[in-house]
């Protein structure tokens, strides 16, 4: 069986000035995931590696570069699934974790559960030795500007995002 990996960096609007960074980011992620496969790594290892790469890339809405909620905070979700045995792990509303996909994988491998959220996910991260990062480290200037713009009285972020996915 020849290994294959496919990645996406989101279906939201990509402004012209962001295009090259997004192209480079998805190519880098795909190659990193493919490298895992070429070395005999599993599909699960491969997709985690690829997603971690994009979580660390501020061009994308995940990890560092995540958009902000109404309070100007980062709240991230992630899921991972192994097709071999239908094992799955997910986290939601996590705040100070650089790579939520890693935490999702730990949920899959270290618990009997499928999804941990918010405070429980935070406690689980602590218990499994996943380091916390300062929340500011996940916030980019672009995310902050977008958040501020959406708070303006005449803005309509829902309408703006409606046709963008």
């Amino acid at each position: 069986m020849k290994p294959v990996i496919v990645v996406h960096g989101g279906a939201g609007r990509i402004f012209k000035e962001q295009e090259e960074g997004c192209r480079a980011g998805v190519v880098r992620a795909a190659l990193r995931g493919y490298s895992v496969l070429k070395q005999g790594g599993s599909a699960v290892d491969s997709v985690e590696e690829a997603v971690r790469s994009m979580e660390d890339d501020p061009h994308f809405n995940a990890g560092c570069g995540s958009v902000l909620n109404e309070k100007g905070e980062v709240e991230m979700d992630a899921i991972i699934m192994d097709g071999k045995n239908l094992d799955s792990g997910a986290v939601s509303a996590v705040k100070c974790i650089a790579n939520p996909i890693k935490l999702a994988r730990l949920v899959m491998e270290k618990t009997k559960h499928v999804l941990l959220t918010d405070h429980g996910a935070h406690l689980f991260a602590q218990a499994t030795g996943v380091p916390e990062v300062p929340r500011e480290k996940l916030i980019t200037e672009r995310s902050r500007e977008r958040w501020k713009k959406n708070l303006e009285p005449d803005s309509n972020p829902e309408e703006f995002q409606k046709d963008l996915g």
Partner: protein, 134 residues
Amino acid sequence: TVGAVAVDSGGNVACATSTGGLSNKLIGRVGDTACIGSGGYADNHFGATSTTGHGESIMKVVLARLILYHMEQGMPPEVAADTALDYMKTRVGGLGGVIVVNKAGEWAARFSTKQMSWAAVEDDNLHYGIYAGE
């Protein structure tokens, strides 16, 4: 949102999806990403998929599992992806994008939005794009 699907040399498939969610969302809002069958699904019997787009719409049609259902019915990845995205658009008015791989290693990157950044590597060949048709 970012995501990945893969099939390894043993024929096993997997998916992963991660997101910061929706800009200026309500505190506590959870979208499709963390929901199994919506943000992603993987089953060696059929394939794997990761989704992105309007989360509430994706959850309403359980998009990732819907695509695998279509593949279970015999559709190739590209047709299954387009059929499911079209259903989401017509049924609940939602737009989005998906990446899909089946157990044979056939793959697709499809979207009903104007753009989706994606890349794929198969047999040491790299493919990538942002706009439809790339």
